[in-house]
Amino acid sequence: MPEKMTAKKEKSKLFHVEKRFDMPLWQSILIRFGFIIVALFIGLLILTISYGVNPFDAIGSMFVGSFGTEKRIWDFLRDGVLLLGVGLALIPSFKMKFWNLGGNGQIIIGALVSVILMINLGGKYPDAVVLLIMIPSAILAGAVWAAIPAIFKALFNTNESLFTLMMNYVSVGLVNAFIMAKYPIGSHVIPRIDDAHFPSLYNGSLLIIIIIAVLLGGMVYYLKFSKHGYELSVVGESMNTARYVGINVKKVIIRTIIVSGALCGFIGCLLASGVDFTVTPETGNNMGFTAIMAVWLAKFNPIIAAGTSFFIVFITRGMTKVQSDNNIMNDATPNLIIGLIYFFIIGCEFFVEYKLLINKGGKEMKITEFIKSLFTSKVEKVKLPPEAEAAVEEEEVK
């Protein structure tokens, strides 16, 4: 047997990816925050290059956009809280790994049902009565809209992303059909309905804020302290484990998605009767999608979702203000910047979850060590007397 075996010269990889075991909370927050700042910086850079925007003015505008006047502050709070509301509706669904992309449709169907009731019953009956009928109806509508895809997912494992997505378009179509049926002549828009408004506390927004705050508390309880919440977590984390303990997975899926849709329907009712006083194909303003990003950023934690929702609203309102301040005729500005921020945050998750090691000269080391090694000069190996050399070697082997 040959004593020496010559190993083939192997091409070793330059980068090696390793999953991180743990990371202190402050570090992960710092990384995420850093990436957001970089994204904003690049976004402002793009604006500066294409439209000559002054970046410092822009940052100021962003704050003015949300906090400049009292009305702005209330609108900011209301928009943030509505986005949070949709997010709360979607969290149970996503925790169960059910990709409910149909938030928009569930909101719209709730709004549609509300508006139909507002038009037909409003003025004929006292507001309170109409509201009492309207709210459960909208909730039911949203629940049904979500239940249909959920049932097929539970029974036949039908792809829920596309099913819920298609339901969005169906709901928009129904709204259009209704508008055409009711208002065939003219601008094809339902004029502002004056009856059966949501009760208004101080101004239109305060009651909504309070309602969503209550919803937030309710969702925290539901997810962390209730038996339902526990079951849905188990189903979402590990379906095998759920079956192992005898949880009825089908029932849990359907039940959770119904909750999701019901809440969206409620938000639709809030929009129809408390904010827009009408319904359009754009009701909800695409919150069904934006909320997905908001809750994903919050790692599906309801309380953190409040923060991310307000953050997204802040950026959106801010960018809109920057755009109008600089007379940029380009309505796409907020979406572009937000999309950019999304990408950066998605990308930064990688650095939180995994460690990147560089292979230099056969030895793997962390990036920071690598950079350090570029700057330190090679230290000459000192010649030691043979006994000391042996002692050093023994130390190394141990």
Binding site: V17, E18, K19, S50, W99, L101, F152, F156, N157, T158, N159, S161, L162, F163, L165, M166, M167, Y169, V170, G173, L174, N176, A177, I179, M180, A181, P184, F289, I292, M293, W296, M329, N330, D331, A332, T333, P334, N335, L336, I337, I338, G339, L340, Y342, F343, I346, G347, E349, F350, E353, Y354
Partner: protein, 343 residues
């Protein structure tokens, strides 16, 4: 040949079908490799933007030197060169724009191991915003007519006798070069996916990446290849929408986004088969244009008819999942990222 409204609908349907088909071929390749790319609507928007930029560059440079008279197109050498250059510019720009977005998606999901659904949604948001932004930038009042001209050139078709063939002629020939490119691409895609080595590798990593990896297939490399090529092809769908279907105009990204979501449904509808995609795209195109072309249709009926394609998609979704037979099931590891160390 009479002016049957069916023919009119079909002509429009073919135009839509091309958009769908490009997108469908692209996303089929994506999904065969295991990537559920919810960013396809965004990619198509980015492709549209790319095409618009390419057309504008051409118009501002080559066209100045070699103008083509769009009303009286003659087969002169200069015109041919100009036409080919337009095609070249447009193809390169679309490929670069859409390809880069595919690369981005691939990078985020394959190398950075980000969740595919979220990345796709971000890509759609960004892509739509990007396209709106670029269009807003370049579609200045002075530039707008340039796009109309470029669009006419792109839609140039071989001449046929209007009197003798009328609408049928328009149907078969009237939509320009890209229609044929598109159909041919579908056949090529089918062939490559199902009969070549590279197609086998792609399908393998989509079904079971762990096994493919163990067999020595470089999963990362093929995911990158499949996604980038797939997104590039899909991008042409967006380009065709803006520079052909709507004749060089651009309102906002909403319509194209809507078509993009339907592409995702179409992939399932055609059970990941590019050949069936040809038929499926035409069918969807027809369904989509029907509400607008049935003579004497009432407003309400029109809106309700617009829902039909989506309902049919839902029915297809349900149907294929009930059957559950192997050849109509999605690729085994669709939507799941592969991380070797976790095996």
């Amino acid at each position: 040949m009479g002016n049957s409204w069916v023919l009119v609908a079909l002509i429009d349907a073919i135009s839509l079908a091309v958009i769908f088909l490009f997108g469908c071929i692209g996303e089929t390749i994506n999904e065969k490799a295991g990537n559920l790319n919810l960013g396809i609507p965004g990619v198509m928007c980015i492709g549209a933007a790319g095409g618009a930029v390419g057309a504008l560059v051409y118009m501002k440079t080559i066209y100045q030197a070699l103008p083509i008279n769009i009303d009286e197109i003659s087969f002169s050498f200069g015109n041919l060169v100009s036409y080919l250059l337009l095609m070249l510019f447009v193809i390169i720009f679309v490929a670069v724009f859409a390809g880069l977005s595919g690369l981005l998606f691939s990078f985020l999901t394959t190398s950075l191991k980000a969740n595919q659904n979220v990345t796709g949604l971000a890509l759609t948001t960004f892509g739509a915003g990007f396209a709106d932004f670029i269009m807003g930038l370049i579609r200045t009042t002075e530039n707008k007519p340039l796009f109309t001209v470029a669009s006419k050139i792109i839609r140039f078709h071989l001449p046929y006798d209007e009197v003798a063939f009328g609408q049928t002629g328009t149907l078969l020939l009237g939509n320009g070069l890209f229609v044929y490119i598109c159909f041919a691409l579908a056949v090529v895609a089918f062939f490559v996916l199902n009969r070549t080595r590279i197609g086998l590798s792609i399908r393998a990593i989509g079904e079971n990446p762990a096994t493919a990896d163990a067999a020595g297939i470089n999963t990362d490399k093929y995911k990158y290849i499949a996604t980038t090529i797939g997104c590039t092809i899909a991008g042409f769908g967006g380009f065709f929408y803006t520079m052909s279907h709507v004749g060089g105009t651009w309102e906002n990204s909403a319509t194209l986004q809507g078509l993009g979501w339907m592409v995702l449904a179409l992939v399932i509808f055609t059970v990941w088969n590019p050949l069936l995609a040809i038929i499926g795209s035409i069918a969807f195109g027809f369904l989509l244009t029907l509400p607008y072309t049935i003579p004497g249709i009432g407003f309400v009926e029109m809106e309700l008819l617009k829902i039909v394609p989506y309902v049919i998609t839902i029915l297809v979704l349900i149907f294929t999942s009930i059957i559950g037979k192997k050849n109509v099931l999605p690729p085994g590891s669709l939507g799941v990222n592969y991380f070797r160390e976790e095996r």
